[in-house]
Symmetry: C2
Subunit: 218 residues, 2 copies
DNA sequence: ACATATTTTTAGCTTTGTCTAAATATTTTT
DNA sequence: AAAAATATTTAGACAAAGCTAAAAATATGT
């Protein structure tokens, strides 16, 4: 497999969790499923191009220019994910691989028009925020469902308890990853939560809620 | 510039005009803006892979398998062009470059869903037919507007007379490349044509019509 | 049909991204 | 603080796609 400069930039960006952290050659290699020596080579080149800061043995980080490129890639990736889910009926978990390809298409007009076509969405189907054209965005916050205040809305992105009985319970109650959730009320009396999930009103126990992760949208 | 196998397949396909004609190494090189020696190398590889038939000094053609690949690329290219024009408000002449990139995205589901999303279009914005999923399609026919029978519809794709006065005339009468045209009636008396062009009814002289090329849709 | 012109291929070199194995730095352990 | 373990880089080789220049095959003109 032959990787592009953009792939390296993305890997460095994501390993740094969006902050401009310095990451190790090995970490990049592992993430990209390649060898550390290949990373060293590429990172030298990125450094020459003014995309990354690289000090031998000390790791690598993105320059401001490199971060801009990374943000533009994230923006494209997430917009395409929205497109695939909203317009082409892809499911939550099918989009990543295709978006991974689409994000490399080069056309500023394409991205801007796509954004418009989708109604300027704020988050992707996984609840992650979409950077604006000039690279601004708030970081996604992930919380357990029973830890957020009334009125919070977000997207169900994971479970703490992944035992079979719990997953079966979720299935039976039509709760799935990718569903959007709004916390409507909290009932102290029986320790339960009143939520709206994908247009349905349901009640769930705090017990259940404390095993569901929510990526907060608003 | 580094070209992909798919680019070579497309070039061979288009030079052969969709028929399975044998084309010369030089022709491919010229079309792709590369050197004949590079073409020889790649064509050998395509031959080994069962995509092309190649006899040294005798030119190259596509195998059935190669044609399938070519048709799939054409299908993708044209569907994306429709998408760009219909959904993202690209103009007729801006789509090619972007579609050239998009056609290389690999996902069968993506293409099928895109086709559905667009309402299974039969032709692209240039009036060229879109192959079906299994590679069937009728070749586009290009005619002068005054040579087609009443009832013919198609897309305006070119001019015979490209003088400035003629182009100005077209502009003034809101006739542009990419417009869809339906021939409604012919008037022998004053040698004119009654056409519907982009929802507008207009009359034009045979003189004018004999300088406009139509790609026939139906 | 022969000489000339053109086309196409071959041989060898370049570049880019990758890999392995050895060498060098850095970090951790004792 | 020295030894051992780990991380990182360097050196050298490989594969893919491309190019130039020379050689070989085919086509053309008289």
């Amino acid at each position: 497999m032959t990787l592009s400069e953009e792939d390296y930039i993305k890997a460095i960006y994501h390993l740094g969790k969006g902050e401009n952290t310095t990451v190790s050659t090995n970490a990049v290699a592992e993430k990209m499923d390649t060898k550390p020596s290949s990373v060293t080579d590429m990172v030298k080149k990125l450094s020459e191009k003014g995309v990354a800061n690289y000090k031998p043995y000390k790791g690598v980080s993105l320059t401001e220019y490199g971060q801009k490129i990374a943000l533009a890639l994230v923006r494209k990736h997430r917009l395409w994910e929205v497109f695939l889910v909203e317009k082409l009926d892809f499911s939550w978990d099918e989009v990543h691989e295709v978006a991974e390809q689409l994000e490399h298409i080069k056309s500023e007009k394409l991205v801007d028009q796509l954004d418009k076509h989708l109604g300027f969405p704020q988050v992707d189907p996984h609840g992650d925020p979409i950077p604006s054209k000039n690279g601004e965005f708030k970081k996604a916050v992930k919380r357990l469902l029973n830890d957020v205040p009334i009125g919070t809305s977000g997207i169900c992105v994971g479970v703490k308890d992944s035992s079979v009985p719990f997953l079966k319970f979720l299935d039976k109650n039509k709760i799935a990853l990718g569903d959007s959730i709004l916390v409507m009320d909290k009932e102290e009396f029986d320790e339960s939560l009143h939520i709206k999930i994908k247009e349905n009103d349901i009640h769930i126990s705090n017990q259940i809620a404390s095993n569901l992760y929510l990526k907060i949208t608003e």
